[in-house]
């Protein structure tokens, strides 16, 4: 077996999962140690990925069914680091709800493993396998606070709808297999006949399935309920990590086998993008719960990332990756704030609970202010640059309609971000929240705020990192 070292990260993480499971079964009260080991595992895997695979030429393994290239390595590292941070800051929250159990880190590890397989997949079957692995873990994570009705509801809803979308996706896979005789991306790209409509149908079905996973409109219905019902730390995980993997598959699936059919899928992507941007912005206006609001906001943000993918250029892909990276950082900051809104062991998550926050918690509210303005895309914060890059590549392809709709929906979106700021700064104060927070929570908030605020000083670094992504 040549090049087996290239999938060391996956092998390492699977072995760790098994080891941790056994440890958890045989050792009593091991949740803390398993939590810490999982953190270590994620970090080590990220380091292995960085060392072994980031700088190699694109290589395929196992009959070309797995591909290791710069894109996959980069996305894996982002996924791993995202999961690492989620795990790092969620321990206090879990303890409060008495769900600090061994399953939590192990489920996160398994879903990360699924995502890594998805990211590296160069074959429909491998891709589906990874997808299901991560989804199954995510269903359980959504219901993790099983004593709460909302959490169980969230998990069940997610499970049913996700299963439906997986079915559609499989149907698309089978259509494509039927008309090209292969499930391998490279083979498909040489085999298919551009005049065959069945292929287009197959692409549409797969796109539907994928859109469901990234919650793009009109396949977004599950997101607000699931985001609201799941434990906050799991919601944080949902908004950040699975989207990276799904987006990578989006890129790989559309640009490797079906680049020639760009006329067919570009329209779909433009529609998904416009619908998500507008709907996410408009629907968020009426929300009262911060987690629901961030669900709609994430729908709208995914719309921008898709706009980058719709361009059909390398630069568009790179800018989508930049967008997602910056979005993850903003989200991390936002959820760190959310996890700090705790008083007497109760977490508050309504928008009104932020009322007058600036008087009791000036530092917390200034961070949230920066994060919200950045989410709204106001310069000179990082969120503006993310949008700027996206629209730059969109306009370069002369897709003016998409650009104008996108920018107008930022104005609509600005409204609900401003509403939160209004409540924090202009309204009367309530009781103050606990001030003794987990060190990691404080750190993640500080770091993400500083990154957002100071991004404009070193904007080239991130571009350098993604500029090595070359798909076409």
């Amino acid at each position: 077996m040549n090049n087996i070292e290239l999938i060391f990260p996956e092998i390492f993480i699977s072995l760790s999962i098994m080891f941790l499971l056994i440890l958890g079964v045989f050792k009593k009260d091991s949740s803390k140690i398993i939590h810490n080991i999982s953190l270590l595992v994620l970090l080590i895997t990220a380091v292995i990925t960085f060392n072994e695979t980031l700088s190699i030429n694109p290589t395929t393994l196992f009959n070309e069914s797995i591909i290791i290239d710069y894109l996959s390595s980069l996305m894996k590292i982002i996924t791993l680091l995202g999961a690492f941070v989620v795990l790092l800051i969620s321990s206090n929250y879990l303890r409060t709800f008495k769900i600090f159990k061994i399953e939590y880190p192990i489920l996160i590890l398994s879903s990360v493993l699924g995502m890594m397989i998805m990211i590296s997949s160069n074959d429909l079957i491998v891709f589906y396998m990874g997808l299901e692995l991560q989804s199954l873990a995510l269903y359980v994570l959504a219901t993790f606070n099983r004593d709460q009705l909302k959490s169980s509801e969230a998990g069940l809803k997610y499970f049913v709808l996700s299963a439906l979308s997986s079915g559609l996706l499989l149907y698309g896979c089978s259509l494509i297999y039927g008309f090209t005789g292969s499930t391998n991306f490279n083979v498909i790209s040489t085999q298919f006949n551009t005049n065959e409509y069945a292929i287009t149908f197959g692409i549409v079905f797969i796109l539907v399935g994928l859109s469901f996973k990234i919650s793009a409109v009109p396949f977004h219905m599950w997101a607000p309920d699931v985001y609201e019902g799941s434990p906050t730390s799991v919601t944080l995980f949902f908004t950040m990590v699975p989207k990276i993997a799904a987006l990578t598959v989006f890129i790989r699936f559309l640009y490797v086998p079906f680049l020639n059919l760009i006329d067919q899928w570009q329209m779909i992507l433009v529609f998904l993008s416009i619908a998500s941007m507008l709907f996410g912005a408009i629907a968020a206006i009426g929300q009262k719960n911060l987690k629901r609001l961030i669900a709609y906001s994430s729908i709208s943000h995914i719309g921008y990332a898709l706009a980058g993918l719709a361009t059909g250029s390398n630069e568009g892909i790179q800018n989508s990756v930049i967008y997602m990276t910056i979005y993850i950082i903003m989200n991390l900051g936002f959820f760190s704030c959310l996890l700090m809104m705790k008083r007497n062991n109760i977490y508050y998550e309504q928008i009104d609970d932020l009322s007058g926050l600036s008087k009791n918690h000036p530092l917390l509210s200034i961070s949230l202010l920066i994060i919200l303005f950045s989410l709204a895309g106001i310069p000179p914060l990082a969120g503006f640059f993310a949008k700027f890059y996206i629209f730059k590549s969109v306009i370069e392809q002369s897709m003016y309609f998409l650009a104008i709709v996108g920018l107008l929906s930022t104005v609509v979106a600005a409204f609900y971000y401003l509403r939160i700021i209004k409540i924090m700064y202009f309204d009367e104060e309530k009781d103050s929240y606990d001030k003794d927070h987990n060190l990691w929570l404080k750190l993640s908030l500080t770091v993400s705020t500083i990154l957002i605020l100071m991004y404009f000083i070193f904007p080239s670094e991130l571009i350098d990192v993604v500029s090595k992504i070359k798909i076409i």
């Binding site: 306009i395 003016y400 920018l407 600005a414 700021i421 209004k422 904007p459 571009i463």
Partner: protein, 494 residues
């Protein structure tokens, strides 16, 4: 020139703001915070005066240019000044310390944060006037929304939330189209560097749409009729210092943008759309002057008069003649001084009586005579009496307009008369008449800091009214060059 004087001008206020931010928790002493802010802004003011001193008036080229790679292969951080922008920078650095002095009475809560917001605002405003790259310009232009939103929203009056939202969303909506245009320019020409764009020129077939996109942003910010409605709300609800910044400097960003970008980058489109601007300007002048006549709230009256005055400015810019543009710039500077002063004047009586309604006052000339004198100076300057800076600008603009379009000029002159009417009537109702409201007798005349700020504003108003040479000398060459380029490219098109 190795010392990066422009970047220092931009950064200094922010450094002051950072300093305030980090020392906040330790010193509860409000006086210290104010002195720190005042010191920072004064240093900035003297730096900008030094800049004017070094400035070479004989050339139209950009001076003190700094050019650094910012986003590799995409955008350079490029700043520089020419005759058009330098006066606005000095106006900004001049008004900001006066604002900080004036917070004494009007801002009672969260003084520290207020000063931070004002200093950050100063950074962005100076950045707008210095930047020689479209993206850098946009960045500063938009970033100014954040502190202003907070200034109106936190320290404003009763309907502050509504006004802050209206201000933010109106301006943002106008600006996003400008962002599309900026990216399109990058795509068409491969650069967003203003100096290079002046040389390259932009293909005429794109110009009209691009011009409209820029216009949508500047029209909201100017504000031109019919998108001026945010301004009265924002002015009325903002605290005094916020109104001053808004009227004196923020509105000038758009006028500056018209000269620098609309005329400079899209000459043939400017030619096409001149009638549109004329129409909107004349409507703004007459219509909003009439509205101003009917106002019962002093701040609202001055806000509407701002819209009318900015109507003169846009009119003057698009006459595209030496006098017209010179007049517009002088009118902007003058309006910056006068409207700032008028808002401060309203602030003075508001702090004492907590009412902005004209009907509350009347006959206060005997109670507070010093105030009455200074208020009169600015009233007369606002209506453009010869000998005040307001006259110079309006006169030059109308002269240029008469050369270009008789009807427009006559209508605009009508606006001057209505302007005189509402300002004098305002003055009459507030200062003269019978002293009916007995509460007014308790009013105290100007204290030292109020007298100082108003005098500081009165001196340049009168000085430049009698002797506008220093201003005209500074801007003359740059404008001549701008008009030559403009005529050349319009002629070459035909």
């Amino acid at each position: 020139m190795n010392f990066p004087i422009l970047s220092s001008l931009i950064l200094l206020p922010s450094i002051g703001a950072l300093f305030l931010f980090f020392t906040k928790s330790k010193s509860e002493n409000k006086i210290t915070a104010k002195y720190v802010a005042l010191f920072t802004s004064l240093v900035n003011f003297f730096l900008s005066i030094y800049l004017w001193f070094l400035f070479d008036q004989a050339t139209s080229a950009f001076q003190f240019v700094e050019d650094r790679i910012w986003i590799k292969g995409l955008i350079n951080y490029k700043v520089g000044v020419d005759g058009i922008s330098i006066l606005f920078i000095i106006l900004t650095t001049f008004i900001t310390p006066l604002c900080i002095i004036s917070v004494n009475n009007s801002v009672t809560k969260r003084l520290n944060e207020f000063l931070i917001a004002i200093l950050v605002m100063e950074t962005f405003m100076i950045g707008v006037f210095c930047s020689l790259d479209l993206v850098v310009f946009y960045l500063f232009f938009e970033a100014g929304l954040i502190p202003m939103f907070l200034i109106i929203g936190i320290w404003g009056g009763a309907r502050r939330v509504y006004s802050a939202f209206k201000f933010f969303l109106f301006t943002l909506l106008g600006s996003v189209l400008m962002l599309v245009a900026i990216i399109s320019i990058y795509w068409i020409t491969g650069t967003t560097d203003v100096v290079q764009l002046y040389e390259l020129g932009i293909d005429t077939k794109y110009q009209n749409l691009l011009w409209l996109a820029f216009f949508s942003s500047f029209a909201v910010k100017t504000p031109m009729w019919p998108v001026h409605t945010w301004l009265p709300d924002a002015h009325v609800e903002a605290p005094t210092a916020g109104s001053v910044l808004l009227a004196a400097i923020l509105l000038k960003m758009a006028g500056y943008g018209f000269i620098r970008f609309s005329l400079g980058l899209f000459p043939s489109a400017s030619e096409v759309f001149t009638p549109l601007i004329y129409t909107l300007s004349v409507i703004a002048i007459i219509f909003t002057s009439l509205i101003a006549l009917m106002q019962e709230d002093m701040k609202k009256l001055i806000a509407y008069s701002s819209v009318a005055h900015m109507g003169f400015v846009t009119l003057g810019i698009f006459t595209i003649q030496q006098q017209g543009i010179e007049g517009s710039i002088i009118q902007m500077i003058s309006h910056g001084l006068v409207s700032a002063a008028l808002f401060l004047c309203v602030g003075v009586v508001y702090d004492r009586m907590h009412s902005r309604l004209i009907a509350t006052y009347g006959g206060i000339v005997t109670v507070i005579p010093k105030y009455a004198i200074l208020f009169m100076v600015f009233t007369l300057a606002a209506l453009g009496l010869p000998g005040t800076s307001g006259f110079v600008g309006e006169f030059l603009i109308l002269m240029a307009a008469f050369k270009d379009n008789f009807l427009v000029a006559v209508l605009a002159s009508l606006g001057v008369i209505i302007g005189a009417a509402y300002m004098l009537w305002l003055y009459k109702r507030v200062i003269f008449g019978k002293l009916i409201n007995s509460e007014l007798k308790k009013m105290i005349d100007l204290n030292k800091s109020e007298a100082f700020t108003l005098t500081c504003l009165a001196i340049p108003t009168l000085y430049f009214g009698f002797y506008p040479e220093p201003l005209i000398n500074t801007i003359e060459v740059s404008i001549r060059d701008l008009i030559d380029t403009y005529n050349f490219s319009v002629a070459s098109k035909q």
